[in-house]
């Protein structure tokens, strides 16, 4: 029945569950414990006498405690309310307890030498580990001190002494679950990440004291000593780390996400890390930072957008929250439109696009903006050589309504006016962007946000030609926490992108406008019924309104005719759903489906061609006005991913997806211009469609300090178009006559090695990639390289961080030159003009690209209570001053020798200094 032998304490029998009722105050307990500790060896030997009549057993137990000076612990039990009579003389405490409890089903045991535990007798035949006793002791002793967080109680502790703790990590301001937060008990090397509802579970945790660490990008870390008493729940609310963002340790994903996330080909930017990267003109740029990741490239410096795995620039879906951006570049591509200070997270899906995203063939860049701080107002900004920005955020109604706003502007004109080049003196360049976001959370279940964005670029060259383009959108989001398992998000977005191209002088002075606007509705229901299953269901509808091109005469003497092409309308609708299911500890499956439908809407004057499959100007037969649905397409898009864990730190992932794209950008230059129009799919212009597959091996080591991965991918585009030679793309009402249908393929391999921490950290990435096309009417129907094919692309980023404040960064980038079409022959016109004859399309390459950058970052001071803080980043872009070619063109020199010429846009060293400041 009892076992008081200390040597057997780890094996003796006992029962569970047991709720120990602490019946003494903390102080008394400690004093009592100390006294008992000293005299404990003799407690059981003391004999006492007593008599109790008509008293509940519970009260008798308390009297026995007093009489023998021993603590007795017991759980609530109806039997303890039974009234008894008890008289005894010269009995030990054990003998008295035996006598008292003999008419019940209760028994008692010793806990060490200073306590008795009363519990149901039938449970007293189970083995307990040392962890159990440690937990028990902790519950009786240190826990009472109240210096740490307790999880669970001893009654829920398994006999093996291991407990499972779970809970929800929430944003303290919005009460939303935080997805992907790292939950880690370092000394046990046990960790996990929160699921889409913010939930986590750690099992196999030995009872006792542990240090729990929870981290997530943009939030203050939660570091706390916890005391695990048994299975239990621990919910955590993380505060935003807005003021001390640079000071906290932040990671975009959990430390082991590269191994354990089911999606393959996801790149998440570490916003803290990119601020220390060498940067052009001192501007932190998320798009440029992605270029250092495997599989992401650009056609050259100053080019708009980016290319993912050999895809076109327009095949990337760029989202700011739920708003689609059609031009993510400022200053013709030198900067992106994202103000890094407002960004909460950036993810790039370059392989398997989740079913909730659609409408683009290759990738999704998902940029999520921060909410304003609900407690404190503060300002933040930076001053650079040609741009400056400022951010303000804070509460409007504390804990209910917050705002965040950021504004960024360039001021390059003062520099241009001082240049010695007359053309540049008569040039100007300017851009700005501004964001505002209001977040309202009337209760823990409801969250409303309204955000608006506006940006503009103006560029004039030599008072001869120029561009002007603006993006504006507003969006309203409503998130409803239906339960801990379900959250519904509704978004409504309205956006307009307007671009103009000016030719200021002469008879052909003209302004060409093209616009695209849309209204978007999206509803996404996320259900996480268990830790093993996550389900996303939703609908999405986008109505597009496209003005493909309007031309107006510009200037008094212009004789340019006015051309107005009718507005085109299209509707893209989709129903989507996916589920992520943990089949076992080592296998996770993500399976989804997106059913997309597209309609090109009338009224529309549709040109009829003699051969609809090969429309030509000469083949026009008539024009027919159509109403309703003029053309329609559907797309069934399965999205499947699977992860197989190989051990605890390695995994193999594979995925397949089908994607389609109903709107494309029209450009046949190396880089799209701001006025490159967007074209909806029509009867003659089919949507792009592709199959995408990838597989990879991922391995982390040294406690996730090192991450390595190898991915292999392939994409087959079974419908695309390319352009006929000398295509006339501007203001062309019969654009389809300039396009030819074809197919494409891309394949490659990516290697990534990252060291996430330590004084020396950084990463190396290498990409082998091919991207090819085939169109019957181009290149004699043979496969040719796309403009975005770069066979080898490698980046090395090294940071030396001797302390938290100082970082020295090195960036080395190399890539194969992109394809070009060189002249291979020549003939003379009768007047003596040499006419070059060019090779097959993209038969050669421009010279390779190589660049070395350096940066030195002096972080903020260590005094956290300082009201005004500054940090400095000094960058040297292109340290070697290498004249990397943006393009190669050919001139005819004396004796008709053709000379290749390299155009380098950034052909010298570009140092910059950025001063960042914060005002509390």
């Amino acid at each position: 029945m009892q076992n008081s032998n200390p040597l057997l304490k780890f094996k003796f029998t006992f029962n569970f569950p047991l709720i120990i009722m602490r019946r003494v105050s903390c102080f008394v307990f400690i004093m009592f414990f100390l006294i008992q500790w000293m005299i404990g060896q003799n407690v059981d030997a003391h004999k006492r006498s007593g008599s109790y009549e008509n008293k509940p057993i519970e009260q008798v137990l308390r009297n026995i405690e007093d009489l023998y000076g021993v603590s007795i612990y017991y759980k609530d039990d109806d039997q303890l309310k039974r009234v008894v009579d008890l008289t005894f003389k010269d009995l030990t405490v054990d003998e008295v307890l035996d006598k008292l409890l003999e008419q019940t089903t209760l028994g008692h045991i010793d806990y060490r030498q200073y306590a008795k535990v009363v519990a149901p007798r039938f449970l007293l035949e189970q083995s307990y580990s040392s962890d159990y006793y440690n937990a028990l002791e902790s519950s009786l002793t240190e826990s009472a001190q109240g210096k740490k967080v307790q999880v669970g109680d001893i009654t829920n502790l398994n006999p093996d002494g291991l407990a499972t703790i779970h809970g929800i990590v929430r944003d303290a301001q919005t009460n939303e679950g935080i997805i992907g937060a790292t939950v880690l008990i370092e000394e046990l090397k046990k960790g996990t990440t929160t699921d889409p509802m913010g939930r986590y579970e750690l099992s196999g945790i030995p009872a006792g004291l542990h240090k729990l660490n929870i981290e997530f990008l943009g939030f203050n870390s939660y570091v706390e000593n916890i005391e695990v008493l048994g299975d239990g729940q621990l919910n955590i609310r993380l505060d935003k780390a807005a003021v001390e963002l640079d000071e906290v340790t932040i990671r975009a994903r959990s430390a082991d996400a590269s191994v354990n996330e089911v999606q393959i080909g996801v790149e998440s930017l570490d916003l803290k890390a990119i601020k220390k990267l060498p940067k052009f003109m001192g501007e932190v740029d998320v798009v440029k930072s992605f270029l250092l990741q495997p599989g992401v490239s650009t056609v050259g410096e100053g080019a708009s957008g980016f290319n993912v795995r050999g895809g076109n620039v327009d095949q990337n879906l760029i989202l700011q929250d739920e708003a689609i951006l059609f031009n993510s570049s400022h200053a013709l591509g030198f900067f992106s439109t994202f103000n890094a200070d407002l960004i909460k997270s950036v993810d790039l899906y370059k392989a398997n696009i989740p079913a909730r995203f659609g409408g683009r063939l290759v990738s999704v860049m998902d940029v999520e903006l921060k909410d304003g701080d609900f407690e404190k107002v503060y300002f933040k900004g930076s001053v650079g050589l040609i741009t400056s920005k400022i951010l303000a955020e804070g509460p409007i109604i504390k804990d209910k309504l917050s705002f965040i706003g950021g504004f960024r502007s360039s001021y390059t004109d003062w520099l241009l006016k001082r240049l010695s080049v007359p053309e540049l003196q008569k040039s100007s360049s300017f851009f700005y962007d501004g964001n505002i976001k209001l977040t309202f959370k009337p209760s823990a279940k409801h969250n409303f946000s309204f955000s608006a964005y506006s940006s503009q670029d103006e560029f004039v060259y030599n008072e001869e030609f120029g561009f002007d383009y603006t993006t504006q959108f507003a969006q309203l989001d409503y998130k409803l926490l239906l339960s801990d398992e379900m959250i519904n998000s509704i978004s409504i977005v309205g956006s307009k992108y307007v671009s103009s191209q000016f030719d200021f002088k002469g008879l052909d002075g003209a302004r060409i406008d093209n616009n695209i606007s849309y209204l978007k509705f999206k509803d996404n229901l996320k259900i996480v019924p268990s830790d093993e299953l996550e389900v996303n269901l939703g609908v999405e509808m986008i109505n597009y309104f496209v003005d493909p091109g309007n031309r107006f005469p510009y200037g008094e003497i212009s004789t340019i005719s006015e051309v107005l092409i009718d507005q085109e309308k299209g509707r893209e609708s989709a129903v989507f759903g996916d589920a992520i299911y943990n089949l076992s500890d080592g296998i996770t499956l993500s399976a989804g489906m997106r059913l997309a439908a597209y309609q090109f809407l009338g009224p529309h004057d549709e040109t009829q061609y003699e051969d609809p499959n090969l429309p030509t100007i000469g083949g026009i037969s008539s024009v027919v006005t159509k109403t309703g649905t003029v053309a329609s397409y559907t797309s069934i898009e399965p999205r499947v991913s699977m992860r197989f864990n190989i051990g605890s730190h390695s995994s193999v992932k594979a995925g397949y997806s089908r994607t389609s794209q109903f709107i494309s950008q029209i450009f046949n230059t190396d880089s799209p211009t701001p006025t490159s129009q967007w074209q909806l799919s029509t009867r003659y212009i089919s949507p792009f469609r592709s199959h995408n597959a990838s597989i990879g091996v991922f391995k982390n080591s040294d406690d996730n300090v090192w991450e390595t991965s190898i991915e292999v991918y392939a994409r087959k585009i079974d419908e695309l178009f390319d352009y006929v030679d000398f295509a006339r793309l501007l203001v062309n009402d019969n654009l389809e006559t300039e396009l030819r249908k074809g197919e494409g393929r891309a394949y490659g391999a990516e290697l990534s090695i990252k060291k996430n921490s330590g004084k020396v950290n950084g990463w190396f990435s290498y990409t082998y990639a091919r991207s090819e096309r085939r169109v019957d009417e181009i290149n004699s129907g043979e496969w040719y390289l796309s403009n975005f094919d770069k066979t080898h692309d490698a980046s090395l980023i090294l940071n030396y961080q001797p302390n938290q404040r100082n970082t020295l960064g090195l960036n080395i980038s190399y890539s194969t030159g992109r394809p070009t079409t060189p002249p291979i022959g020549n003939f003379l016109t009768p007047s003596g003009l040499a006419v070059p004859i060019y090779s097959k399309r993209n038969a050669a390459r421009i010279p390779d690209y190589f660049r070395v950058d350096l940066s030195y970052t002096v972080g903020k001071g260590y005094k956290k209570d300082k009201k005004f803080k500054t940090s400095w980043t000094f960058s040297i872009y292109n340290v070697l001053g290498r004249k990397n070619p943006f393009s190669v063109f050919f001139t005819r020199a004396a004796f008709e020798q053709v000379q290749a010429n390299r155009l380098a846009i950034l052909g010298s060293v570009f140092p910059s200094l950025t001063i960042n400041f914060e005002l509390l």
């Binding site: 100053g302 291979i824 050669a844 570009f910």
Partner: protein, 362 residues
């Protein structure tokens, strides 16, 4: 490094680097194999003051002078849509030209279509499509003005300089589509300064055709006239010293031939920047009738031309430096070889003549 030092270095180097514009350098470039000995056939029928047909047959050449090869062919025939035909006689290797007048089977007429057939000695037959002469609009006048603008000097530096701007006032016919094409000639007078005392000083009239493609897309214009449309700008130099005429040949182009010349203009005017239109295969309306894989370059077109001329007033050009005599030794040291071209003998170029043009006025 202190923050002050960082700021100073950054501003100093940063500003310096910003003043360094984008740069263009010649580079070595591996050119893929050529297109072989493809034939090039270029031809035109022109209705004008002196109507003519001109055909040039050559081969593609790579980038060495030795590779240029005119091609003699067996026959070159001209056809019109009235059913007439005539065989053209060679005037030089690969060069065929005939004046078209009432004495020839074919005359150049507006509204009539023309085509050619070329038969080579190895039996290949090339035929062109038919191109119809569209009427050329009337030239209303040429204008010359002096402007000051930036230009690249001989050292490659950009500097402000005075230039002569030539522009045109003309009718246009936007209804017919196609385009307008201007060939621009400079005709200047020059008196040489022979270093050999036995040679008499001569006065020549030198005609150079400007190697630019000047085409205007009529399909994007409205109205029926263009005024002060800029054709070219020339720096003021020795050519203006004794007088210079601009001679402008305004030609009408059908939509097909306009597309051809426009494509060549695109290729020729490429600057290599990111917004340049991509290169491509210049469309030809000539094909091997027996082998469609035999790639043919060149084009045959028919047009009407109107010629207009304007003299650049000496009062406009000021006092440009004369070409002759040179202010330095015009001979190779140790020999009598003249190195100053036109100055030693103004007839040493085939574009030069002693015949005073009928329109010339001093």
């Amino acid at each position: 490094m202190s923050r002050g030092a960082i700021l100073y270095v950054s501003l100093l180097v940063g500003v310096v680097s910003l003043f360094n514009p984008a740069c263009i350098d010649p580079i070595d470039f591996d050119v893929p194999p050529g297109v072989g000995n493809s034939i090039v056939i270029q031809g035109q029928v022109v209705k004008g003051e002196n109507s003519y047909v001109e055909i040039v047959v050559s081969r593609l050449f790579d980038f060495t002078p030795e590779s240029r090869q005119p091609v003699n062919v067996k026959t070159v025939e001209l056809f019109d849509t009235k059913g007439n035909e005539m065989i053209l006689e060679p005037r030089d290797q690969g060069y065929y030209r005939e004046v078209l007048d009432s004495s020839t089977p074919i005359q150049a007429e507006v509204g009539t279509g023309y085509s050619i057939r070329v038969l080579t000695f190895d039996g290949r037959t090339y035929e062109s499509g038919t191109d119809v002469i569209v009427p050329v609009p009337k030239v209303r006048g040429l204008n010359v003005t002096k402007i000051v603008g930036s230009a690249v000097n001989a050292l490659g530096q950009i500097e402000e300089s005075e230039r002569i701007r030539l522009s045109i006032d003309s009718d246009i016919n936007t209804d017919q589509g196609g385009g307008q094409y201007w060939k621009i000639f400079e005709v200047f007078k020059i008196s040489d300064s022979p270093i050999d005392a036995d040679i008499t000083q001569k006065t020549c009239y030198v005609t150079f055709e400007q190697l630019d493609i000047n085409v205007l897309d009529l399909s994007i214009l409205s109205g029926n006239i263009i005024e002060d449309y800029e054709l070219t700008m020339k720096p003021i130099d020795f050519r203006f010293y004794e007088g210079l005429f601009f001679e402008v040949h305004q030609l009408s182009l059908s939509s097909g031939s306009f597309r051809y010349w426009s494509s060549i203009s695109d290729l020729y005017s490429r600057e290599g920047n990111m917004f340049d239109a991509p290169v491509g295969e210049v469309p030809s309306n000539i094909a091997n009738v027996d082998n469609d894989k035999d790639i043919v370059f060149g084009y045959f077109y028919a047009s009407e031309e109107e010629v207009a001329r304007v003299k650049v007033p000496l009062s406009l050009v000021g006092n440009p430096e004369p070409y002759c005599p040179p202010d330095f030794a015009a001979t190779v040291p140790g020999s009598d070889e003249c190195t100053w071209g036109l100055c030693c003998d103004c007839l040493n170029t085939k574009e030069s003549t002693l015949l005073r043009p009928s329109y010339w006025i001093d």
